[in-house]
């Protein structure tokens, strides 16, 4: 995928490391993104995701490793032209209108004249903000601000777009609209890096997912592959039990599961195996209140790989 110098990959991260004092934020991370892909980068808070994102946009001085965008070193003019970054923060000028913001960010990207006018028109249309072009940002709804934030990052029509949690704090309608915007980009062949804490978003939009924790990529692949790697073909069983003197952790461990408080987490190959599980619980004096059978999804994989403990 990366060997053809005439057709370089949109993003190559090669053995990147970044330390802040004694803390290693990114630890020897390597990956590539294929052209036209939507690459989901998932990770709990403090996993090193933000440092990796800032490294990709050229805002971090790496301790080692390299990053290239379409074959150009990150930070170079060519790389900057090919990369569009939509930061998590609403990084727009609140007192300017939508159009004025797009003008400013377009000029920062080197656009002028008709090219700039065309880009602004496309952005306003793409973000469904054409009817609010003259409205100051501070008068927009949260969803509109998010869409403008995205548009400002894409004003120069980059070939690689980094969307950092673009749906934070918006209502379902706005979120759906943002999904449509991302899908429109994909249909145009734009390569996308998408970070989110909403697993259903990654499932819907991303065709390749990487999970980062403690500064390292701990798993990557398609959603189906990640589920298969973590759970095989088994389904998860969640069983709530009443107060008991039984050692739930030991009971669950004997059946290949875990327990937390009064909840037992197990897995079964086939749904019919639940009957045997319930029978064993009853025989050991457990008062089963509720049982849920669930096919593992991306969230299951995420929690399985990164654990359930709270992060920073």
């Amino acid at each position: 995928m990366s060997g053809d110098p005439t057709n370089p990959v949109p993003l190559r991260v090669d053995a990147v490391a970044k330390r802040f004092g004694a803390v290693t934020a990114v630890d020897d991370v390597s990956f590539e993104i294929a052209a036209g892909a939507c690459f989901g980068l998932l990770g709990p808070n403090g996993a090193g995701k933000s440092t990796l994102i800032r490294s990709i946009v050229g805002r971090v001085r790496l301790d080692s490793g390299s990053i290239s965008i379409f074959g150009h070193p990150v930070g170079s003019s060519a790389a900057r032209a090919d990369l569009g970054w939509v930061p998590q923060e609403l990084a727009v000028y609140p007192l300017l209108t939508c159009r004025e913001n797009l003008q400013a960010f377009g000029r920062y990207q080197g656009l002028h004249g008709n090219a700039l006018d065309d880009a602004i028109a496309w952005c306003l249309e793409w973000a469904a903000l054409a009817d609010r072009a003259g409205s100051p940002v501070r008068t927009l709804s949260g969803g509109m601000k998010r869409r403008l934030n995205m548009a400002a990052g894409l004003i120069h029509r980059p070939r690689l777009v980094l969307l950092d949690e673009p749906t934070v704090g918006v209502d379902p309608q706005s979120r759906n609209r943002i999904f449509e915007m991302v899908e429109a980009l994909r249909s145009d062949g734009t390569t996308i890096i998408y970070t989110t804490h909403y697993m259903e978003e990654a499932e819907r939009l991303c065709d390749w997912i990487a999970i980062i924790d403690h500064g390292q990529i701990i798993a990557q692949g398609t959603k189906e592959a990640l589920v298969a790697q973590s759970f095989g073909s088994r389904s998860s069983v969640t069983m709530h039990v009443g107060a008991t003197r039984v050692d739930l952790a030991a009971w669950a461990a004997a059946r290949g599961g875990t327990a937390q408080d009064s909840v037992v987490f197990c897995s079964v190959e086939k749904p019919a195996e639940i009957a045997g599980l319930l029978e064993a619980a009853s025989g050991d004096g457990l008062d089963v209140l509720d049982v849920t059978l669930q096919r593992p999804n991306l969230e299951s994989v995420f929690l399985h790989l990164t654990g359930k403990e709270l992060r920073a």
């Binding site: 946009v57 805002r59 971090v60 900057r80 930061p87 960010f105 990207q109 080197g110 990052g153």
Partner: protein
């Protein structure tokens, strides 16, 4: 409930350590600076009025007066320019060179001791016989310093009284002799002996070393005021100007607020850093140097507009002669705006939060404004304060605007101001760029 609000507010303040410290350091620091600066104005640090002395009489009496003026502690009297390496033996001032020096701002006043002073050194009362023939002193002064001429006149009167006792007694005896119909030979002999003793003492006093470095002069309060010496005070600078201090304060106040504006404009960097807009801009095709130059230009243009408005207002309301000084105004406003804009960039780049910027800039700007003459007229400052003022934008800006609007000097005379303001602006901008590295990469 109020307790919770208080607790929350104090905790927030405490978490911004820079702002927290500055909340207490700011007033103490400002007070301390003012205490040192203005508190030291007593005693030997009392502002001395510089006066150039020209002795056109060259009589014993005039020489004695000059020596007395040189000893006068409230005057910085000079009979010739200060000795420098370039000019180790400067010639004494003449009336013409002294007037030129006053016009160029080297001194606020010059005292001309007229020829004939020795013949009729003092007179008692405006209508006295002696007064009618007495030659008048001339005080040439720059009316932008309204205090200097009055101080010189007063000190002249005092010096005549103190430094010329023999002359005083001699003239007094002449009055006495004339008014009571003549002295007896014995009385006249005793009088002559007394006067001889006085002259001896006066000579001994004159032989003592002078406290001043140059020559000196003083004047009585005003011409024909009834004092013992007749004085004619003449404005040689701004004699046709309507408001001597308008250009001074337009510049002084203007620069002070310019500094605040520049600081706030620089603070937009902190806002954009906080919002993430700075990261986004720097990830585009904009370098930090370009960004700072853009912010600097904006800040300088804003400052330029503010100063222009200030001077137009001065022209409209206070009749400042603005429209005949536009070239000089443009030069001074351009360099002043550039310097304060660079200063604002530096302040923003060395602080981390808006609160820190507000506290830090307030301390520095108010201090600079006080020392530089924006809040306190320079003619009331001691020499030490004036020297400290050279480290402020305010002082140089005021000096330049005064040259243009008050002294009607050509743009070529602005060399020192241009060098200092442009030079310091460049240095401050380079420093701001260096400190701005914190925003470039982590």
């Amino acid at each position: 409930m109020i307790g919770t609000i208080l607790q929350t507010s104090f905790r927030s303040l405490r978490r911004d350590r820079g702002a927290f410290v500055m909340s207490f350091i700011l007033p103490i620091g400002f007070f301390t600076i003012f205490g040192f600066v203005f508190g030291s104005m007593r005693g030997s640090s009392t502002p001395r009025v510089t006066v150039l002395v020209v002795d056109e009489d060259n009589s014993d009496a005039s020489k004695s007066l000059v020596r007395g003026l040189l000893r006068e502690p409230s005057l910085d009297a000079m009979t010739h320019p200060r000795v420098t390496k370039e000019n180790p033996a400067p010639a004494d001032y003449t009336a013409a060179t002294a007037e030129a020096a006053v016009r160029s701002g080297d001194a606020p006043a010059a005292l001309i001791i007229p020829a004939g002073f020795g013949a009729h050194p003092i007179a008692f009362g405006p209508n006295s016989e002696a007064g009618s023939t007495q030659a008048k002193f001339r005080i040439l002064h720059d009316s932008s310093d309204p205090v200097a001429a009055q101080v010189v006149a007063g000190m002249l009167e005092k010096t005549v009284m103190i430094s010329m006792p023999a002359t005083m007694a001699a003239v007094g005896s002449q009055y006495f002799d004339r008014e009571i119909g003549g002295l007896t030979p014995k009385q006249r002999q005793q009088m002559d002996q007394g006067l001889a003793a006085l002259r001896k003492r006066q000579d001994q006093q004159d032989a003592q070393p002078s406290a001043a470095t140059g020559g000196s002069a003083t004047a009585s309060p005003a011409a024909d005021s009834g004092g013992m010496v007749a004085v004619d005070i003449q404005d040689v600078v701004g004699e046709k100007k309507k408001s001597p201090m308008i250009s001074y304060y337009a510049a002084g106040v203007g620069v002070m607020f310019l500094l605040f504006t520049a600081s706030a404009a620089g603070g937009s960097l902190l806002d954009e850093s906080e919002s993430g807009a700075l990261d986004r801009v720097l990830s585009a095709r904009v370098t930090m140097t370009t960004l700072l130059l853009g912010k600097l230009t904006y800040s300088a243009l804003l400052a330029f507009a503010q100063l222009t408005l200030m001077f137009l207002w001065a022209a409209l309301v206070f009749h400042l002669d603005f429209f005949t000084h536009i070239p000089g105004f443009l030069v001074m406003t351009a360099i002043t705006s550039f310097a304060v804009a660079s200063f604002g960039m530096l302040l923003a780049s060395v602080t981390r939060t808006r609160a820190q910027l507000g506290a830090f800039s307030t301390l520095i700007i108010l201090t600079m404004s006080a020392l530089g003459g924006s809040m306190f007229p320079k003619f009331l400052m001691s020499d030490a304060m004036l020297k400290v003022g050279y480290f402020t934008f305010n002082s140089w800006a005021i000096s330049g605007y005064q040259k243009i609007f008050w002294r009607d000097e050509p743009i070529s005379s602005l060399g020192p101001e241009i060098a200092v303001l442009v030079g310091s602006g460049v240095v401050l901008f380079v420093l701001a760029r260096w400190f701005a590295r914190k925003w470039e990469y982590v």
